[in-house]
Assembly symmetry: D2
Amino acid sequence: MQRQPVSIFERAFKKLVPGGLESMGRRGSDIMNIAEDLPESDLATVKEWIDDCLAENGGQVEARKRAALLGRAYLKLSMTGRTRFLGLLAEHYGVNEASVESAIDQWHNAKANEKTKAAQSLRKALIPSRTALLKQFNGVPSGVKFLVDMREELLQLCKDYPELKPLETDLRDLLATWFDIGLLQLEEISWNSSGAILEKLIAYEAVHAIKSWSDLKNRLDFDRRCFAFFHPNMPDEPLIFVEVALVNGLADNVQKLLDEHAPTQDIDKADTAIFYSISNAQQGLAGISFGNFLIKQVVSKLQVEFPQLKQFATLSPIPGFRRWLENTPADQLTQLPGGEEWLSSPPPRDPVRVCQADPTGAQQEAIMKLAASYLCSLKPGKPRANDPVANFHLSNGAQVARLNWMADTSDKGLKQSAGLMVNYLYELPKIVDRSNRYTSEGVISQSSHIKKLLK
Amino acid sequence: MQRQPVSIFERAFKKLVPGGLESMGRRGSDIMNIAEDLPESDLATVKEWIDDCLAENGGQVEARKRAALLGRAYLKLSMTGRTRFLGLLAEHYGVNEASVESAIDQWHNAKANEKTKAAQSLRKALIPSRTALLKQFNGVPSGVKFLVDMREELLQLCKDYPELKPLETDLRDLLATWFDIGLLQLEEISWNSSGAILEKLIAYEAVHAIKSWSDLKNRLDFDRRCFAFFHPNMPDEPLIFVEVALVNGLADNVQKLLDEHAPTQDIDKADTAIFYSISNAQQGLAGISFGNFLIKQVVSKLQVEFPQLKQFATLSPIPGFRRWLENTPADQLTQLPGGEEWLSSPPPRDPVRVCQADPTGAQQEAIMKLAASYLCSLKPGKPRANDPVANFHLSNGAQVARLNWMADTSDKGLKQSAGLMVNYLYELPKIVDRSNRYTSEGVISQSSHIKKLLK
Amino acid sequence: MQRQPVSIFERAFKKLVPGGLESMGRRGSDIMNIAEDLPESDLATVKEWIDDCLAENGGQVEARKRAALLGRAYLKLSMTGRTRFLGLLAEHYGVNEASVESAIDQWHNAKANEKTKAAQSLRKALIPSRTALLKQFNGVPSGVKFLVDMREELLQLCKDYPELKPLETDLRDLLATWFDIGLLQLEEISWNSSGAILEKLIAYEAVHAIKSWSDLKNRLDFDRRCFAFFHPNMPDEPLIFVEVALVNGLADNVQKLLDEHAPTQDIDKADTAIFYSISNAQQGLAGISFGNFLIKQVVSKLQVEFPQLKQFATLSPIPGFRRWLENTPADQLTQLPGGEEWLSSPPPRDPVRVCQADPTGAQQEAIMKLAASYLCSLKPGKPRANDPVANFHLSNGAQVARLNWMADTSDKGLKQSAGLMVNYLYELPKIVDRSNRYTSEGVISQSSHIKKLLK
Amino acid sequence: MQRQPVSIFERAFKKLVPGGLESMGRRGSDIMNIAEDLPESDLATVKEWIDDCLAENGGQVEARKRAALLGRAYLKLSMTGRTRFLGLLAEHYGVNEASVESAIDQWHNAKANEKTKAAQSLRKALIPSRTALLKQFNGVPSGVKFLVDMREELLQLCKDYPELKPLETDLRDLLATWFDIGLLQLEEISWNSSGAILEKLIAYEAVHAIKSWSDLKNRLDFDRRCFAFFHPNMPDEPLIFVEVALVNGLADNVQKLLDEHAPTQDIDKADTAIFYSISNAQQGLAGISFGNFLIKQVVSKLQVEFPQLKQFATLSPIPGFRRWLENTPADQLTQLPGGEEWLSSPPPRDPVRVCQADPTGAQQEAIMKLAASYLCSLKPGKPRANDPVANFHLSNGAQVARLNWMADTSDKGLKQSAGLMVNYLYELPKIVDRSNRYTSEGVISQSSHIKKLLK
């Protein structure tokens, strides 16, 4: 995860306040001189400054300059200082309970035709005062990225400081509004994209790490495509991106796909688009989901550029498989296709060794069968697949289409997925129906290949 | 005000749903076949369709397609049909009162550390269900402009159908979020801008009408600048724009400024930027204000491009002056500087005739004094100038600097402002202080020229 | 024809020489102070200045600044002054005959393996010295346009001052090198193009005048396309442009095509692209031809964007028909199909009256037949059609496909073409062959419709 | 030096000839099937094909397609094949001597007023027929780069095959016309430039090799600038580029400048722009010079962006110094300042050892003095410095300003320049005069520091 260096924000600040700190009055230097651990005495300075931001003295334009300065001060704090700063926001800038009570009274007393207005008043009373401060940051160059990074820190800190949770939730709600899918832009990333964006791909790729610039270039070659969502206020920061390979037939091995020395596919003859990597780039946007939109918009784009494409599918890891296999009690495993065979095979029953040792077909088949079972298993009482990647694609309306043996032999692939990978198939005319049946009833669409494994 | 023709939205729809209506199932044609006055029978079809949008069957991507289709159906309705459609949204898709009551109970019962969560739940319960539908439009090409235009219609209809007001308010709140200043882009408009944008300037200019393309070209000449805010989802639609002339000294006559045959100012020698026209372009965004930001950002831009500039000022109409002069009782006028002189001048006391008849200096002076009084007068009991344009610039921190005689001799200028115009001066180091004193105490900064008139 | 105003060149000059005239030394002001009719005394100043440009004192960068200043001085001259200036260039800056003679001697004395080098030396000796000066202008902002406009003037002046011809020819050769088709860029012009470019379309349209900005907008509507070639050094100046309508079947009437109130064609259903106007925009590039490339590249573009197109054709005037009909002696006319019928019809035999008077079918047919004959007639002894537009399309490989009665009822259309228009059909697989047969043997491809008329 | 892979040209070809080889007729496959060493039998095929290109059958558009196919065939040849191909062009497609003789006769017989026309005819007769073929490539996507690369090969081959020289010269003349400075575009290269361009910097940097992408990023940091010339037909290929560091005072060490861990200079406080690397990127453009223009245009750009800059200077190697020191006879060295001291110092007299061994001041001073002598020495009888880099900057009008000890301790720096580097100073008001005096009289401007060394 790559965060903005302080310096970028400083440059942004310079642009906003060309006169510099001096032009902000006495307190401008007060706020910049707070100690990095933010001792009690400096907390008061910060509080005064925040109040000033909220009062909007001198108008909104001035208020946003003050917010920028506050952001700059924040970035200079130590982790202790930041925690105290965030604690201040969480504790003192929530909703005013008295105002809420009074608005509730109004609501109860409102006549029928006054209800809507009373509802709006009550809604307003329920907005924490800190929200106005947070909003000021979107008018600051780099300010949106500042908030995204701040939420990333908050998510970490909440584990130890649960009192920060309300602040984190407010920030998520605000970011969810700004990062509404309709405000995002889908852009193709290619070798003609800027160095500033390309280096982010390397930093953010979360599924199959990009080893070098030449690895990256290979992934952007003529037979590949990469698309990302961007927010207008963070033009150099992809939010999520997907890497696509144009191939013939379903791809069955990711190392082959990523081999820099493999010849380029003649794209005129490609019939299948393989989505082999989807990475969320901003951890500060956790819980705000773009993947579904990304895949569907990319499919539309590809259909226009390559009318000859007949299949859209993924080549995906099964990240929870190995742990599931190890943690599932034997009596449950035996109930499953392949379970008995697996348990009766000679120890150590390590699927990775099996992979590497060129096992008997029987062992391989047992593992494949169990993986199919895992993929198609639901969480107890919910229409939700056990495997998180499966759940993502199934809720998008995909089908579990094919399991591939020894398809990802990287350390991570072996460790998490026992070297297996799965193709999820997006059959466009059936997507709506499959998505509905999965999300409402937990019905998982399976290809005949999978069905056979499950017998 | 220029609205999108149906055809643009249709094209947008085609892009979103390349498969066309047929791909949307049986009800897709139902919704397109509703009668244009939306009789009772068809209302049910619409309601069903809206419920379908809200249910998000098949996922969010599908839901937005349905919203697009609904928008297309709406645009084909007559005004009667639209009123009924909007009435349906206003009546049936508000907040669920039972849910609100239950959330209020939770709030009351919440322990201290549960209050935030309860507040969030209550806030959610207070969001009308129609909001989710409206939000879907931002994912539709041209969908944001659709909502802006819909609000313009709503504002008109609310006069006769007050029951639509809650819907209008919800829409305003939603648009205010999307059109937050931080999400807008300041762009220069020049003769190198696209025809699609240039024609909008002609259509939207609200202060000094643009008579022709050559008038427009003249306003974009080398000694002029024009800037506008744009929203990323409405790239061809300026939201607000300002026209600036680079001149020597304060400009005192708008016809001279707009004379197509006047020679171009040598901008190396210009020392003053005159903001001579600011127009809000989208009536559907009424109440969401951008002017303050626009002026200040433009001042920053101009300072960078033209370091030699020494003054930033407007040349503004005084739109309420003539009406005020006619409607103010004589006994009040006599209290004001120039009042007695004016009332004792021979009838008809028509300031326009005075203007045109090359009056005695005395009459002219009386009018100037009264205009100064008017400009510096406040609404009873409020820190708010009587004149709306004055109020705008004063709250931004400007000074009333100079009154100009016979400065706008157009029909409108004579009729509204008696041919007078005023320069508001933006002195950058004093803006914050002036804005604060005006908005809190109603103190209006006056130049010595104005002070003299008021003696 | 729109020429650059002096002011643009002045601005360009300022950019090149920010220090201004003063920074160019004493002679800098000498050259700017020459009298506008360029008397003998000032001619010497100019000559000195030109010599200085050619000497490249201080390096090439300085030399180009001097050229810029010379250009600026030229633009301030009266027509008399310009003529004298150009005369100076034509007379004094040609080839040095002695150097040529000496290079010829070297050529004659060169051994076999020295011939190439001798040829190169001789070629160099044959380059007039003014060429170096002219070349310097391409490094001056707006300098290429300056030369294009200068050639336009030269072409006019050569009629009265034949001694300028060598200069004109040198300039043409230089421009032909710079405006080589491979260095040009094909760009689509749409309503999203800049005002600066759009106004040029209005100014330059030579076939069917654009009456207003709304006429222009209509020609750039969704069912229309417009493409132009641009040179990198003249980014706002189209060199040639073509207007295309997407329709169903061959278009038979240009007024219908240009009707602003006609509904937009559903382009999904269009099967034919009609090239209804091709205009050369720069008279200073006369004799350097782009039309052939333009049409073929546009056809390629359209095929990609609209795979459903089945026909590419023009709707073209027959500009020489009426004059030909009037000037052809009766005894020749009678030899032609329709000739006798025409000559035996009652006077006045004015085809326009016939058009307007709703003639008997016989008269109409006679005119159509004669027009077909005219279109398919060649200049004596050459493989070159009499009609210039016919010659252009036939040499590109088109077929004479259909004559349309009353297809252009504008004054110009009636006056030149007797209201007739013709469709030239570009059948892609046959273009090479037809072009070859026409240009080598004068064979004109005719549709069966035309063949029938010629019987 | 990075050449286009065949594949790029193939893709370009596909774009030009979407129908593919098949659409080019029988001979289309003939030309693609020639053997890679181009035996005699296939030479005939090639010749026929070239003749076809020159005949322009079917028009110019078709001819350029044929040229594209020829280029593609060329790229598949082995070096033997290419040599034979080029030999064919050099031998058979020169000037027609008979035509030249006849044009010479016309010239001799021409009357005074016919001389210009005769000169033009003769000039045309002197253009080799191959030129028309070469020109066709500029209309082919990637065709200009193809010719540039072909010239690079030619320059190599000419060493062994002098008969190719005339072809190489023709190609240079043609490229010189197309790459005229006025047709080039100066562009800033930054971390926002495309990956495709950035990788070229790494490949092409010729002075201080770029070691990695992070080295590159450091060279494009906030206190650095990089500018390049581009040709419109080779948008991804820099022709020449310069790297600039914004610093305080003259830089004296290139390793310090390139240190990735050094803090970024506060550019508001920088007073000096150091040009520390200029690289020609296209060896195929050898002999066509851009450096002078590049430096001067970059200086102009920097002055606008950073008005606070007071000095423009280089930090340059002295590539010929070490060799000169070793090869100059002792009796000549003793004549020079420092020569005696150097020769009397104890052997081995290796300047690099001196550098590394922290020598006595005396030895260091002797080397510095000799380096100053070398820098200010001219080739016998010519106004041309012995050192090629010195000659470049001096002819641009720079001054030899300062010698820096141990300024480039890379292997190359030690080996060529004995670790020394020199600052050439560009004092803008003196450039013209210095350039003139150097190029005409060989006068080298020296700072007082250099003068002192030379005493």
